[in-house]
Structures are given as C-alpha cells and as structure tokens.
Symmetry: D2
Subunit: 148 residues, 4 copies
C-alpha cells in the first residue's frame, strides 16, 4: 500500500479532563496528514487553492480504539481510497509511534469545489492532481485485490 | 420524537480561512448538545462522573450538508437512539436557528465505562440513568414505526 | 461602570489533562464577550465587517487567579477602556456565575483596520461606532475618577 | 542567548475567517515551545508531573506584529527569563521560518505547584530542574548586561 506518514506530539491543549486526547482533535491531525499527503505528491493545498480548488468536507468518520495521552508521539498515516469526478475519500490511522498501537482510524469524504463551494470536474480543472491521486488509489486497490 | 435543543453562536474561533466553520468544531457542539441533554433528563455528566460513569467515544460520524459562518446562531438537536448494556448512541443535527436549514448531522457512539475506561453494566451501576434513556429511545422508536 | 455580560458553559473540549480549563481557551470566551458587547451596542461585528471594519488583535494579556472546571457556568464581563484614532482596548473578567469568584481577568488591544489589515481612522469610517464606544469609555472613566 | 527552537505548520484548524491564524492559537504553540524546551534540558513535563510538579499559568501576554496564514511554517523560539522560589517566566517568539519575520512575541508566567495546584518550593522539590533553568536564566542575563 502506498501510504503517507506524518507525526504529531500531543499537547495539553489536545487533552481533556478525562486525561486523554479530546476526541474532536483527531480531525485536526487528520487534516495535518492530508496536508502533508498533498505536499508529498507535489500539490500542496495552498497551491490548489490558487486554481482555485477547494476540498471541503462532505463527511467524516472516526473509530476510537484506544486513548492517547499528553506528550504521546503519534504517527498519522494517510492515503486516498476513492476518487470520483468531484469527490475524494482520504483514510487515516493514528498510532502510537513507539509501540505502533492503533488508536483511531477514520476517513474524510471531500467535495472538490471552487472557492464558492461549487462542485467542479476535477479531471478537467486540475488533471495532474486528479491523475496522481487516481494512480495511488489504483495501486492500492491492486494490492488489496485477491491474489490468484 | 423526544428531542433536546441547545443553541450556539459561531465565533471567529470556530471558523477557518475558507470563511466557514472548521469541520472539527461540530464535535464540540455535539458535546454541548449531549451535555444539555443529560442535564435536562436529570443526570448532568458532572454527576455521572462521580459514580463514576464515563462516556468515552467509540465512534463518531458527521455528514456536512451546508456551511455555517461567523456569527450564525445554530440550534443543536440531540437525542439517543440506541442503548445496549454498555454503549449508547447519541444523534445530532445542527441547523441555522433562523431558517431551520440543516447544516450537519451525525452521531456519536459512547462506551459506558468507569473512570479507568473499563466497560461497566450501565443497567446495574446507574439504573435510573439507563431506564430514563431507554424510555426515550423506545418512545422515539415507537413513533418511527410504520402506522397500521 | 457600564459593563456587558455573557455566559459560557465549560465543555470537556475546553479542559485539559490537568482537570481544569486550558488557559488558551479564555481568549475564545473573551471573543464571545466582545461579540456580544458589539451586538448590544448595536454594531454586531458581522455588520462592521461589511463596511469593512476589522478589529485584529495587537496584544492580549491574561491573569489567571483560579481554575475553572468541566461544566462550570462562567460569566464573562466585557467593557471598553481606551479608544484612540485607530485602536481600542477591551477588558474582560471571567467569573464563576454562582459564587461570583473571579477566575481570569485580561484585556485585548485591537487595531481598527480595513479588510486588508490596514489601519483606518475609525472616527471617519464608522463615526457612530466610534462615538458609541467613546461615550461608554468616558462614562466609565468618570465613574472611576476620584470624588470631591 | 541560550534559546530553544521548535517548528509548527499552520493548519486550517488554526486559521479563522479573517484568513489569518486565530490569535488564541499562539498560546498552543507557546505550549509546544515550552514542552520542547523542557524535553531538551532533560526534564520533559510528563516526567515533572510524576514528582508531582505542575506549571499552571499565572499570566500570559502576547503582542501581535504580523499575521500568519494557512500552511506557513513557523519557528517558535522559547527561553526562560525569570525564576523565583515558586514561579518561572517563559518567553516566546513566533517567526516565519523562511523569512525570519517576527509575527508574535510573548511570555507566560507559571506557578510551580503540586498536583493540587498548591505552590511548592521548586528548589527543594526538584533541585536539578531548578538549577538547570536558573543557569540558563543567568547565562542569558549575563549576555544582556551592558558591556564595559
């Protein structure tokens, strides 16, 4: 699988009075993973915005398996799994860096829009981005397919 | 349907550079809805904690239909829909207060645990809370059922 | 003193693993106080923006006297104390609503700018806002002055 | 001057509808700087907590000189400047990494307490930490002193 990695350090700002990371903050770290993914494939979001191509959220899902705590070093894994003419799904895992324990997994579905939040045909407006992501999705799908 | 309502005012703190509410912040407002729901049924979460009964998240799902913007007044609707021996699902809608437009809907699944995050049998540890929520779930289900 | 009041309920989202409100979140509630102040004097910030008049921060100061905890109901008191041709100082107190205990006090200094963050002459661009705030500042100063 | 450096990348989560970083978020990054400072001098905060030594905020001051925007890479500079028997001041600068432009400077004053938020004599409870910080403060003061 072609996946992308970034690290985050848990601050007090990220925790709550239960002594664990507040559940909402994983969406922030998923954003960090998504940003670094786009940078690594050569299309930083700050560049996409200039086209203008925006990726507002259509949906988000998170499954919480184990808590993270203050000062934990987390590794965020990010990869795209679905690309349609105007939507893309990004997948994420948050793990303890040291132990590799999976803490939270999830995905975000994004509309592909202009700066007025109107859907655009990604393949036409930003063909290079579209094809690069499509290639990663296909490579990952091929690897997932049952072997003869 | 027996639903519970609370209001929130969108601050700059809640928005992002797209000019709309940052998607992660709805989980904060769902928490506000959940807190007020528990207070209204007579079991504020601050009281549950003393038993101790905690409700850490097991999963969250959000569907984004329309953006909210700075200074919008939002109404958060909250209701429980599933209760098992050690889990509960809470449902939410965020609407524009004035127009009633539905912006975001979602749910959070909660484990029912002690203060060490160990699952507990809610029916035994906090029977009054359990029965109160169960009654609301049943009332809502009855109303949802097909009519003869 | 002519002061303005708004209330906030402490969520888990606002707390940290010390079991108290994370210090940075008071700036959020000071914003809430500032927004409601502007609304009450008849010039909601959402309206100022259309002129366009922006109030970006030039400085902030907070003094922490006592901690707030999950589910506390806080009262935020807000009032303006200094107005120059292109700056305004807003003052804040955060108190426990029930006991009146002062938890945090502080101020924010704002530049008065257009939507390009360029300083503007408030008295000329938005004279009604300027005069309304100036009047409140003067009333408060008069009350603070030593009595004969 | 003996200073300590850490980097942060601005996310959408950090920005607001003005298109710039929300002012309250610098306190989060100052925390990141403080955490990395303590780690570098050999006393990560997660270790201090076990003693228990806590560093709750007594005051914070921020001066905003220029805005940061989405995807900016910031360098946070951190150093201690005052140490008394039960308080410590930490200083911060946030700069554009690439240009070196100073965006925000500030300080946080911390009480040195136990886990009940009671002041403790740092020199007695955690002498190694105290002396290490004191040495850095003195070195920085010596460098700041007027030269003959």
């Amino acid at each position: 699988m072609k996946k992308f990695y970034t690290q985050v350090r848990v601050l007090f700002a990220d925790t709550d009075a239960m002594g664990i990371v507040y559940h909402g903050n994983y969406l922030r770290w998923f954003e960090a993973g998504r940003n670094e993914f786009l940078r690594e494939i050569g299309f930083p979001y700050a560049e996409l915005e200039k086209l203008p191509v925006w990726l507002p959220l259509a949906a988000a899902h998170l499954t919480y398996l184990a808590p993270a705590r203050y000062d934990d070093l987390l590794e965020i894994t990010t990869w795209p799994s679905r690309l349609t003419y105007a939507t893309v799904r990004m997948n994420y895992e948050a793990r303890q860096k040291e132990s590799g324990e999976l803490l939270v997994k999830g995905y975000t579905d994004h509309a592909i829009t202009d700066d007025q939040l109107k859907l655009i045909r990604a393949k036409k407006i930003c063909p290079e981005v579209y094809e690069t992501i499509q290639k990663i999705v296909e490579e990952n799908e091929a690897e997932d397919a049952p072997q003869p």
